[in-house]
Symmetry: C2
Subunit: 243 residues, 2 copies
DNA sequence: TAGTGGTCTAGACCACTTC
DNA sequence: AAGTGGTCTAGACCACTAA
């Protein structure tokens, strides 16, 4: 238990929510009532309520009061990274090919990159390896614009282990879908898998938050045994959540 | 752009971070400097900085200053629910069996439930169906304590669609692992799948945050075509993140 | 010692909801 | 009209950091 007043109030109210004294949808005491119960001023009470709000425990309706949230039980936090979060440590990247292609050469890619059918794309194909073994196969696509720094960056990072988006991570939004499938023959060969093996096919789009532009689209395929998907319900993961 | 001062300051600083004017690790102007630049008082500045902190953009070191965070690029938010988030709507639950067993009858279950080998477990086996078709197979385990309300709750919810943990969601921590595997024969039969089909095997532990006790352990197996896993990098998902 | 962030207080004005 | 939350201000004291 903290000896800071506003944190005491926070953990006190949090306890009441956790113990079920306040149920989702219930209204808390009014701010003036809380001022009296905790013998402090509006400012301190409001600081406590602000913290509870940012942690997702309560919300407020102006003119009415503060209410206990209905917790969102469907949200999980998943920690994933192509390079760090596999069961093996990627220690080598084998570049298979770097090509500049017409959009029409790759069916459907113009939709993924949200570009017109007249444009060019750059394609990178590479293998991620660990201890001389092929762990994953990856294709990366981006719009090709000659002399564009993004393209140069992609090439620079093509055979490095760090993903290029880490440099400007604040501006990026990544969205991925995970599927479990039987590998296509090319992939099965590369990963030295039987045809009825299983791979995770992870498609990821990286979007610039400002310009809304799709920066890159990648397909990452990895044998299931190298990737364990673990997700934690993210409710209590809010910042500074400490009881 | 908001007409509320502290929100203006927030979005202003956020823009500077997004545009790269402030880089991760950089120190912001001091609070007194910010007071001068925005011609306001310490309180308003501090309110802005508090919001930026809770959104994960900055952190502060007492006596030194406020610094731009290195964004965590590995964290994704996954929305998942056995009942709502499949590609089909579960409209029926078929209870296959409810049994009370010795812990030793289910190899390894005492580890999952963190109980001793002398205790009893309750086991629920059920099918989740949609439009007369079997979508998923689920086994749920919990420690069996006669007359314990948890057990009664489990039984009450055993053939309902809502998961029982929703009632006390604040106190629960859910942790799940997702695997893609070839189904065991029992599962393949139930889901009417070929032996070389693929299912997602989702194991979930529900833990009471207060008591640290494992409330339940479940194994949920669903044909891959009914579950699309989509994850979004959770950086910009913080509450009230609005630029 | 000067500068920094952390905590706390008193009081004003506004917009909103409810009766 | 009474009560509610939202925003904003001035100023104090503390603990910490750095020179």
């Amino acid at each position: 238990m903290s000896d800071v007043l506003y944190l005491k109030i926070v953990s006190d109210i949090k306890q009441k929510i956790l113990k079920g004294e306040y149920l989702p949808g219930n209204m808390l005491e009014s701010e003036t009532a809380l001022m009296r119960t905790y013998e402090t001023t509006k400012i301190t009470i409001r600081k406590s309520l602000a913290l509870l709000t940012s942690e997702g425990f309560i919300y407020s309706i102006p003119g009415k009061g503060n209410f206990v949230c209905k917790p969102e039980t469907n949200l999980y936090t998943l920690s994933f990274n192509k390079f760090d979060k596999l069961n093996v440590q990627i220690d080598e990247v084998q570049l298979l090919s770097v090509r500049v292609l017409n959009v029409t050469d790759i069916p459907g890619i113009y939709v993924k990159l949200q570009i017109t059918e007249e444009e060019m794309v750059i394609e990178i194909r590479r293998l991620l390896c660990s201890m001389e073994k092929v762990i994953a196969f990856e294709k990366i696509y981006a719009k090709y614009i000659p002399q564009n720094p993004n393209v140069e960056n992609m090439l620079k990072f093509a055979n490095y282990i760090q993903p290029l988006e880490d440099e400007n991570a604040f501006v990026m939004e990544k969205r991925m879908t995970i599927e479990a499938i039987h590998p296509e023959k090319e992939i099965a060969d590369q990963l030295k898998l039987p045809q009825d093996g299983i791979v995770y096919k992870i498609e990821e789009s990286v979007k610039n938050i400002d310009s809304k532009e799709i920066m890159s689209y990648s397909i990452f395929q990895v044998q299931t045994k190298y990737l364990k998907l673990t997700a934690v319900q993210s409710f209590e993961n809010s910042p500074k959540s400490s009881i």
